[in-house]
C-alpha cells in the first residue's frame, strides 16, 4: 500500500464525490483544535455545512470499537478488516458508497452527536432513509438486512442518536449501499458486481494519472501517485457554485473549497501537461469576478465568499512557468490577462485608502497569511508582498502584450511596473532593517515581529538592485531566523511571536517557499534555491503527507494534511530541483 494513502491524513473518496471516509485517532475537529473527536472511522460528507464539523457516523464491526479495524487504502477501494471480518468499500458512482464483505456479528453505523432536525426512518428490512446532512441518504441492502434505531425527541427536534445494524445473510455476507440524493430516491441501480465497480474506478484513476505530471526520478513514484490521487479524488464538477468546470478542491479533509490563490498553484503540475485543467482552476473563481474587479475569496458547493479577497499571484506563476519554457495556449492567456487586469485595477483603485500609491490588505485573510504577525496591530496593512505581486503582474501584462498585442501597450505596462517598483522601494524598503517592511495604512506604524512576508518581494529579483537582493538573501540565510532544517518558516524562529503550530506565525507554507525559491533562482542564487527546494521535497517525504503547513522544526504536517498546494509545489520542485 502506498504509504501516502494514509486514512488518518487523507480521505478515501472519489472523483466528483462529496462523500468521504476518514479515520480519526487522537484527532480534533477541523480547524477547531480544542474539540477532540472520538476515535473511529467516520463517514464525512464535505458539503458547505458539513466540511468543517460534519463528521457524521462512525462505523465498525459489531461488538468491536470502530478504531479497532485495520485498513487497506487504494485509490479505487478501501478495505476495513479485523480478524476474519472484512468489509470493502468502493464508489459505484459519485453519489453512492457500496459496502461488501463478511461480518460475523454484523456491521454498524453509530451517529451519537446528532444536530437539530436530524432524523432517519426505516422503510422496511432492506431500506432506511437518513436525513442528517445537506443531502438525504438511502441505505439499501443487496445481501443481509438492516435495523434502525433513531428515537425522535420532539422537544429537541431531532433524533437522540442514530444506530444502524447490518446483519449478514445466511452465508455471513453483507452487501449494501449508501446513496445520497436531494429530494427523492429513485430506486436501487448499482446491481453490477462489487468487483466491477472497483475495476471501473481503477480504470478512471489510471486514465487520470496518465494526464498528470510524471516524476523525473523513479524514487518519487509513490509520492506522485498520491498527488495524482489527491487531485483526482478532490475534483468536483456540476456542484452548486463549483459549476461545470472540473475543479480541484483544496482538500477533501475539511478545506473542501477552491480559493483564489490556492487554485493558482495547480498551474505548477498541470500547466505543462493539461492546460485546460490548469486554467479551469483559475476560471472557476474568475467566473465570479465582480464589476469592481474583485474575485471571491473562495467558493464551495453552496457559497462564494466576498468578505475577503486573496493576493493576485497569477501573473507571478505564469511568468515563472513561461520562463521554464511552457508555451500556453493564447486563448487561455488572453482570458486570464483580461480577468487579471480587472483584478489589479481593483487593488489599485479601491484598496489604497491613504492614497499613497501603495495598495493595502483590508484584513490578514486578504493576504492569505491570515494571522501573520504583521497584522497584529491593525487589519489594513500595506504588506510589501502585495505590491510585489502587482508589479510582477504588470510585468506579465507587458510580456503578454509583447507576445500577442502591441509594443505600445507593453511599454505602458512596463512603465507602470517601473513606477510602482520605485514607489515600493521608497515606501516599503527600510535600509536600516535591510528588508522590506509592512506598514499600517495611514499611520505607517509597524507591528512587532519578524515575518517572512517582508521577504516575498524577492520574487522581483529579476528587476532588483543587487544591493537590495543581497540584503534579502542575507536575511533569508541568517542563522536561527527563517531558514530551518526543513526550509523557510513563516515567522523567524527567534521571534518572540514564533509558535510551532500557529498557522502563519511559524510553520512552513508552500506558497511562500515557492516564491522565495523562485526569487532566489532568478537572483542567481542557484545553489541556495536548489537547497531550499530540496529541503521542501524532503519535508513532504519526511511528513508522509502533503499538508496545509508544516512544523518548521520537526517537519510534521499540520492542520489539513491533504492540501493541494503542498502537493503542487512538491511535484514542481521535484522535477525542477530534485537532487540526484
Amino acid at each position: 500500500m502506498n504509504r501516502f494513502l494514509n486514512l488518518n491524513k487523507m480521505a478515501f473518496t472519489t472523483y466528483g464525490s462529496s462523500m468521504t471516509i476518514v479515520r480519526k485517532e487522537n484527532a480534533t475537529m477541523g480547524f477547531n483544535t480544542s474539540v477532540k473527536v472520538p476515535d473511529g472511522y467516520y463517514f464525512h460528507p464535505i458539503y458547505d455545512e458539513e466540511m468543517f464539523h460534519g463528521l457524521l457516523f462512525r462505523m465498525g464491526f459489531e461488538g468491536e470499537p470502530s478504531i479497532g479495524m485495520e485498513y487497506e487504502f487504494l485509490p479505487e477501494s478501501l478495505r476495513l478488516f479485523r480478524d476474519l471480518n472484512s468489509v470493502e468499500l468502493c464508489f459505484p458512482n459519485r453519489t453512492t458508497l457500496r459496502f461488501s464483505g463478511r461480518a460475523k456479528e454484523g456491521f454498524f453505523f453509530l451517529y451519537d452527536q446528532t444536530r437539530k432536525d436530524d432524523d432517519a426512518l426505516q422503510l422496511d428490512r432492506k431500506h432506511a432513509e437518513l436525513n442528517i446532512y445537506t443531502k438525504k441518504c438511502m441505505l439499501y441492502m443487496f445481501k443481509g438486512e438492516l435495523s434502525l434505531e433513531a428515537p425522535w425527541d420532539a422537544k429537541k427536534g431531532r433524533c437522540n442518536y442514530l444506530y444502524v445494524h447490518f446483519s449478514p445473510d445466511e452465508n455471513g455476507e453483507l452487501d449494501f449501499c449508501l446513496e445520497e440524493y436531494d429530494r427523492a430516491w429513485k430506486g436501487a441501480w448499482c446491481e453490477g458486481s462489487f468487483e466491477s465497480y472497483v475495476a471501473l474506478r481503477r480504470k478512471d484513476f489510471e486514465q487520470y494519472r496518465r494526464t498528470c505530471l510524471k516524476p523525473i526520478h523513479s524514487r518519487f513514484e509513490e509520492a506522485f501517485e498520491a498527488c495524482a490521487y489527491m487531485a483526482w479524488s478532490s475534483t468536483m464538477f456540476d456542484n452548486g457554485y463549483i459549476g461545470n468546470r472540473e475543479t480541484i478542491l483544496i482538500s477533501k479533509n475539511w478545506m473542501a473549497m477552491t480559493a483564489s490563490w490556492d487554485n493558482t498553484f495547480n498551474l505548477l503540475p498541470f500547466g505543462g501537461v493539461n492546460q485546460r485543467r490548469a486554467f479551469d482552476q483559475l476560471f472557476v473563481i474568475m467566473d465570479y469576478q465582480e464589476p469592481t474587479g474583485a474575485q471571491p475569496d473562495w467558493i464551495t458547493s453552496h457559497r462564494y465568499n466576498h468578505s475577503y479577497v486573496k493576493p493576485p499571484v497569477t501573473g507571478v506563476l505564469l511568468q515563472i512557468l513561461m520562463d521554464d519554457g511552457i508555451e500556453f495556449e493564447h486563448e487561455y492567456l488572453k482570458k486570464t490577462y483580461h480577468y487579471l487586469v480587472k483584478t489589479i485595477e481593483f487593488w489599485m483603485r479601491y484598496r489604497d485608502y491613504d492614497s499613497d500609491g501603495i495598495p493595502e490588505y483590508g484584513h490578514g485573510n486578504d493576504s492569505g497569511a491570515d494571522n501573520s504577525t504583521v497584522f497584529d496591530l491593525a487589519p489594513n496593512v500595506e504588506a510589501p508582498d502585495l505590491t510585489a505581486y502587482i508589479i510582477a503582474d504588470y510585468d506579465f501584462f507587458a510580456r503578454y502584450e509583447r507576445l500577442f498585442g502591441t509594443l505600445e501597450k507593453a511599454a505602458e505596462w512596463e512603465k507602470k511596473a517601473d513606477d510602482l517598483y520605485s514607489l515600493l522601494l521608497q515606501h516599503s524598503f527600510d535600509p536600516k532593517r535591510k528588508k522590506f517592511v509592512s506598514l499600517i495604512s495611514g499611520s505607517h506604524c509597524i507591528a512587532p515581529g519578524d515575518c517572512l512576508i517582508d521577504y516575498i518581494p524577492i520574487i522581483l529579483s529579476y528587476r532588483m538592485e543587487s544591493s537590495i537582493t543581497k540584503n534579502l538573501v542575507e536575511g533569508l540565510k541568517q542563522k536561527d531566523r527563517f531558514y530551518t532544517r526543513w526550509g523557510f518558516s513563516s515567522e523567524s524562529v527567534s521571534s518572540l511571536k514564533y509558535c510551532r503550530d500557529s498557522y502563519w506565525r511559524g510553520p512552513i507554507w508552500a506558497p511562500w517557499v515557492f516564491f522565495i525559491v523562485e526569487g532566489l533562482r532568478q537572483a542567481g542564487e542557484i545553489e541556495f534555491a536548489t537547497e531550499a527546494a530540496n529541503k521542501y521535497i524532503d519535508l513532504c517525504l519526511h511528513a508522509g503527507c502533503f499538508a496545509e503547513n508544516h512544523d518548521a522544526l520537526n517537519g510534521i504536517g499540520l492542520r489539513d494534511t491533504s492540501y493541494s498546494w503542498c502537493a503542487n509545489v512538491f511535484q514542481y520542485f521535484v522535477n525542477k530541483y530534485a537532487n540526484g
Binding site: N131, K136, D182, R183, T292, H306, H363, N371, P379
Partner: protein
C-alpha cells in the same frame, strides 16, 4: 401619518433591502440582557446576530422612537436622529445630537470581524456577509476598535460627531466587494420622499380594506408585505416577498404561495415571481424545495402541496392567462406525482410526511413515534391539487388529462374519506394519537375540500369546528389548557372550504375571528390556541398575506 408600528414588532427596513433596524433584546449566555436598537443584516450567516447597536451615548435608557414607513426617528432628551433608507444597501442618519454611535460589543464580535479607520469621514467595517462603510456628509467620525488576538477587533465603536452647527448626516452603506466612492448626492428629505412614494405606490396597487372596522389590521398587513420585500440576491433570483425580516430571512414554499394568493390581483408580476422562484427549482422527481435562501436551497424537506387550493381561487377569479395555466399545470402535476410515487409507502392510498419539517410546523405536527405520517391536511391539499389539475386541464381543453385527474381524485377521496370519518367520529378528535387535550385546527383542514366531501362528513366537521373553541373571541379570553396552534395556511384553507360549502356566515365569522386575533396579538407566524399568544416571527408575511386576502378579495368574493 402618525406612529404606525413599533420597531420591536416590525423591523424597520425598505422594500428590497436585506438591512433592517430592529429593537431587540440580546440575551447572553450569562443571562445579561442588552436591549437596544440594532442594525441587522438578513443574510443567512448573520441571521442569529444583532450586529451594531445604535445609541446616542451608549445607554439604551430613555430612547423614544417614532416610526413611519419611510422614516425612523430616535430621540433622547433634546437629541434626535432620523433614519431612512436611501437605497436598498444604504441607510442614512440625519439629526441634531452631540454624538451618535454604532457599537458592536465583544459578545457580537466573531473571528475575523474588523473595522478600519480611513480618515475623519470614513470608517470601513467587515463584520458580516457584506462589508460596509460609514461615511459622514456632515460631521466627523471616530473609531474605537482595539485589535484583538482573534484576528478581529475586541469591540467596535464608531462614533459620529456633529459639525460646528450641531448637525450630523452620515451614511451606512454595505457592498459585496468594495466601496466604489458613489457618495449620496440627494438630500435626506429627498431620500425619504422617494421611499414614501414607493410605499404609496404599493398601497395603491394593493387597494383598501372592504371591512372598515378592520382597516387598521389591513393597513398593517399591507405594510408588512411591502417591508418584507427582497431584491434578487444570489439564489433568490427574483424580486419577492420573504417569509419575514425578523427571524426568517428566506422564503418558504407554503408562505410563498400564500403571498402569491394575496398579491395576484394587486401585483401579478410580484405574485408570479413567488410561484416561479420555486417552480424553477423543482427537481426531476417533481418535488419542490422546502425553502430558498440567498445561498441555499433546502432539499431536506418537502412542504405540502397547497398550490391546488390557491390556484383554484385564481381560476375562480379568472386571473390566470393560458401560459400561466400551462406552467402551473406542468409544475403541479409533477409535484402531485412526486407525492404519489415517493410518499405513499404503505399502500393505503394516503400520502405521508417523512419528517416534522415536511409539515412546516414541526413542533406542532402530529409526529409521535412514527415519522411516516399520513396527515389529514396533507392529503386534503393533495386532493385539492388533483382537483385543480382536473379543472386546469379542462380550461386548457385537454380531455384525456381531465379524465385522468378526475379518476385520480376519486381514488384519493375513496382512500381519504374513511380517515376523515375516523377523526370526526370522536368527540375530541385524535386525542389518543396526538396526546393533545384540545381539538387542533389541523383536523378541520379537510373542510377545504368543500363539496367534494359527502354532506354528512362536511356537516359534522363544520359543526365540530364551530363548537371547538378555535375561534378567537375578544369577549371571552378565558384561558384553557394549551396544546395546539393556529396558522394562516390552516385558517385560509378552512375559510375557503366553508365558502365552497356555501357556509357564508360561518366563513365570515371564521375569518373575522382570525383577523381580530391578529389585530390584537400581532402578525405572528402562529398563535397558540387557548391563550392566543403569538409565536415566531412577529411580522410574518404569510399571516399578513392571509389577512390581506381575507379582508379584500375574500370578502369581496362573498359579496
Amino acid at each position: 401619518m402618525g406612529q404606525l408600528y413599533g420597531v420591536e414588532e416590525i423591523p424597520f427596513s425598505k422594500n428590497g433591502s436585506a438591512l433592517t433596524i430592529q429593537k431587540r433584546k440580546q440575551v447572553c449566555h450569562d443571562g445579561e440582557i442588552d436591549c437596544g436598537y440594532y442594525l441587522r443584516a438578513l443574510y443567512e450567516d448573520d441571521r442569529d446576530r444583532l450586529l451594531f447597536r445604535l445609541s446616542f451615548d451608549g445607554s439604551m435608557s430613555e430612547i423614544e422612537e417614532t416610526r413611519k414607513p419611510h422614516k425612523l426617528t430616535l430621540r433622547k432628551g433634546t437629541q434626535s436622529i432620523a433614519i431612512c433608507f436611501s437605497a436598498t444597501d444604504t441607510i442614512r442618519f440625519s439629526g441634531i445630537c452631540q454624538r451618535f454611535e454604532l457599537y458592536m460589543s465583544p459578545k457580537e464580535i466573531i473571528k475575523y470581524n474588523a473595522a478600519m479607520y480611513y480618515d475623519s469621514r470614513h470608517v470601513g467595517v467587515n463584520t458580516y456577509t457584506r462589508k460596509g462603510i460609514v461615511y459622514a456628509l456632515k460631521g466627523e467620525i471616530s473609531l474605537d476598535a482595539p485589535w484583538g488576538e482573534n484576528e478581529s477587533n475586541t469591540y467596535i465603536r464608531i462614533v459620529v460627531h456633529p459639525n460646528e452647527s450641531g448637525e450630523m448626516d452620515f451614511v451606512y452603506k454595505e457592498f459585496r466587494t468594495e466601496f466604489t466612492r458613489d457618495y449620496l448626492t440627494s438630500t435626506f428629505e429627498e431620500d425619504c420622499l422617494s421611499v414614501l412614494e414607493d410605499y404609496h405606490s404599493f398601497c395603491k396597487r394593493i387597494g383598501d380594506c372592504v371591512v372598515p372596522e378592520l382597516s387598521d389590521v389591513f393597513s398593517k398587513a399591507r405594510f408588512i408585505l411591502w417591508n418584507n420585500q427582497q431584491e434578487p440576491n444570489q439564489l433568490i433570483k427574483r424580486h419577492i416577498i420573504l417569509s419575514g425580516k425578523q427571524k426568517l430571512c428566506e422564503i418558504r414554499h407554503v408562505d410563498s404561495l400564500l403571498i402569491m394568493l394575496a398579491m395576484m390581483k394587486a401585483d401579478p408580476s410580484l405574485a408570479w415571481n413567488q410561484y416561479v422562484l420555486f417552480s424553477d427549482s423543482q427537481d426531476d422527481s417533481g418535488a419542490m424545495p422546502s425553502w430558498i435562501g440567498s445561498y441555499k436551497i433546502n432539499n431536506r424537506w418537502v412542504n405540502p402541496p397547497i398550490e391546488g387550493m390557491i390556484v383554484a381561487e385564481f381560476l375562480r377569479q379568472d386571473v390566470l392567462n393560458r401560459s400561466q395555466m400551462e406552467t402551473i399545470f406542468d409544475s403541479l402535476s409533477r409535484q402531485v406525482e412526486f407525492w404519489l410515487l415517493y410518499r405513499e409507502t404503505d399502500g393505503d392510498g394516503l400520502v405521508e410526511y417523512f419528517h416534522p419539517k415536511d409539515c412546516g410546523l414541526e413542533e406542532y405536527s402530529p409526529f409521535v413515534g412514527n415519522m411516516r405520517t399520513p396527515s389529514l391536511e396533507l392529503n386534503t391539499w393533495l386532493i385539492l391539487s388533483v382537483d385543480c389539475l382536473e379543472r386546469i386541464s379542462e380550461e386548457l381543453n385537454r380531455p384525456a388529462q381531465t379524465k385522468y385527474w378526475r379518476d385520480k381524485r376519486e381514488n384519493l377521496l375513496t382512500a381519504f374519506l374513511p380517515a376523515v370519518s375516523k377523526v370526526i367520529c370522536r368527540d375530541v378528535p385524535n386525542i389518543e394519537k396526538r396526546g393533545m387535550a384540545l381539538p387542533i385546527c389541523l383536523d378541520y383542514v379537510p373542510i377545504a375540500l368543500g363539496e367534494l366531501l359527502p354532506l354528512e362528513i362536511s356537516s359534522k366537521l363544520v359543526k365540530n369546528l364551530m363548537s371547538s373553541g378555535l375561534q378567537y373571541n375578544r369577549e371571552n379570553l378565558e384561558k384553557t389548557s394549551v396544546n395546539s396552534i393556529l396558522c394562516a395556511a390552516w385558517v385560509i384553507s378552512i375559510a375557503l372550504g366553508l365558502l365552497r360549502l356555501g357556509k357564508v356566515e360561518e366563513a365570515e365569522d371564521w375569518i373575522f375571528a382570525y383577523c381580530h386575533l391578529v389585530s390584537d396579538k400581532g402578525f405572528y407566524a402562529v398563535h397558540r390556541e387557548g391563550d392566543w399568544v403569538g409565536m415566531g416571527d412577529s411580522a410574518f408575511s404569510a399571516t399578513a398575506a392571509v389577512v390581506l386576502y381575507m379582508l379584500r378579495d375574500f370578502v369581496e368574493g362573498v359579496e
